[in-house]
Symmetry: C2
Subunit: 329 residues, 2 copies
């Protein structure tokens, strides 16, 4: 592969955190936002809070759907507001009817992968406003939440430094989203009401055949990454949909005796790679974009990426912990 | 101390990262920024980039100083521009003459603690534009850089979990800035041209009597924290000055045999505290504000603060890794 096509660490960040920053690129930000519809909910204490961004092509399909009010296209900002439903269950019922109607039209490709899994949409004080079908969340541009765990082994080198190897998962090539790309050992979305730590325990068993006891005792929470992703072709379905995300991170240091194994057909296999192999595969662009971000955070926390070997060190650290403009958990 | 006066972790973040966010509080941000002067430099490739914010009371004193151009107060934005100096040394010479003249007036209290230490001001591509005397940096509102290291011991509990104790420094009560408050074991500002890792090695010897060999082999870089601080009374000198900062972080796990010791009169003493003692002292507000932020990052990275025990977990993580609107290293 020619040198020119290798990705820098900042390239990897730019692919995942691609929505412009108002404080750095005000004109790019304002021109992006001025075309988008702001999702709001008028039946709670802070009706002026924006919960996500919708493309006009999505917002305009909601114009005649009961429960919603769409502002005229010259409003500033353009808004789409959930105006009915006095409490969470009634709001969630309206949203469920809406997403089902959207699916029935066959108009939205992302809804063909209907998940029957509900994602939470919260107010700034983290109260659940309503839930929404997972596959519809990028259509509404709301913050989605998930868990990612890095599994690794550690031994001491002759000079006393830690020598790490990382368990890397390769996604099944048949998978519609990011098929064949590299992934963190365990990762998954977190549904309404789910406790993050329980979510990582469940996913660890489902995806990597790791025992719940092992994960409960040994998995260490170690922060979050957050970024504002805009979906591309590899995500499947419509491109250009907004997907701001917060991922809750865990580290799991494993003995040589523990080997993650696929337990469904989502993962092709697990490989124990050196840091150099991991970084080379990142440079070659083999990682699912948000999983590369999780790896970058791991490499920073474990002293492998440093201010001395990565010129964009502090920019990378701040970019992968983006403060999103929408409420989240 | 009454329950009501204890500080939450988010309170600690709010005390250190106090400049408003445009994406969350646009009106608070815009009203703050509209009163400030934007520091610029017209003699490099990106003259439109703002390098820091000055209070009007500071900017207006530069009106008749050679090398500077101050826009009229109804300009949008108000600017103060370094218009002379075709290269770094000549710009730095103008800035040095300016800060010396400011000191000579006796008008600025922060300049009474003149440090004879130069801080870098960089362009977006991290090229050094000019250096500025450390004590003057908050007058110009530029990003300052530093290093902080957390020293700790680790032993295994009966249940296999890590039991940490943290070396906490108490600042000398006689110190004008944050006297008597708690501090990270090692911390210091990084001067123009200094390598961050060398900076932490030097400070470790100066402040905690830790051997350079030990720090060079065992100190582990583990990320940055960044925040936008507004100076209060405890910082000494004028209040309301803007101090955006990036701190490069290191962890140093110590054996029981190594004991940090003060080697100057800046530190009253070092204390090996349990996590509970550290967290209680944080709640009581005993920590220097930015050192509390460094501790929060440590507590997150080591799995002590979690999504389950800290409701504001993801907000705290993103807030302490703020993407600043000014260029930095």
């Amino acid at each position: 592969m020619p040198e020119g096509s290798l990705k820098s660490n900042l390239d990897l960040v730019n692919e995942c955190d691609c929505f412009p920053y108002i404080q750095v690129s005000p004109s790019a930000y304002l021109s992006a936002v001025s075309t988008l519809y702001h999702l709001r909910c008028s039946t709670h204490a802070q009706p002026e809070v924006t919960l996500g961004y919708l493309l006009p092509s999505v917002a305009l399909t909601l114009q005649n759907i009961p429960g919603w009010e769409v502002s005229s296209s010259d409003a500033d900002p353009r808004t789409i507001t959930l105006v009915h439903g006095e409490d969470e269950p009634s709001r969630s019922a309206i949203v469920a009817a809406t997403t089902s109607a959207m699916k029935a039209t066959g108009h939205f490709k992302v809804l063909e992968k209907w998940r029957n899994e509900l994602y939470p949409v919260v107010s700034p004080d983290r109260t659940l406003l309503f839930s929404i079908e997972r596959s519809a969340s990028p259509l509404f541009g709301i913050v989605s939440h998930g868990v990612h765990m890095t599994c690794y082994t550690r031994s001491k080198q002759a000079d006393g430094k830690d020598d790490y190897k990382i368990w890397v998962a390769r996604r099944a090539r048949s998978k519609q989203t990011y098929g064949g790309m590299l992934d963190n050992a365990v990762a998954g979305g977190t549904a309404t009401g789910e406790v993050f730590f329980e979510s990582i325990i469940r996913e660890s068993a489902e995806e990597a055949s790791l025992s719940p006891d092992l994960v409960r005792t040994k998995a260490k929470p170690c922060g979050t990454v957050s970024y504002f992703y805009i979906r591309d072709r590899r995500a499947g379905g419509e491109t250009g949909l907004m997907q701001p995300e917060v991922q809750f991170l865990y580290d799991l240091e494993l003995d040589d005796s523990v080997v993650p194994k696929p337990s469904d057909d989502e993962v092709e296999g697990f490989f124990l790679w050196s840091i150099e192999e991991v970084q080379e595969s990142m440079r070659r662009g083999e990682w699912k974009p948000n999983c590369a971000i999780v790896m970058l955070d791991w490499l920073v926390r474990h002293g492998i990426l440093t201010a001395e070997n990565e010129p964009k060190y502090s920019e990378i650290v701040s970019r992968i912990h983006r403060r999103l403009e929408f409420p989240s958990l």
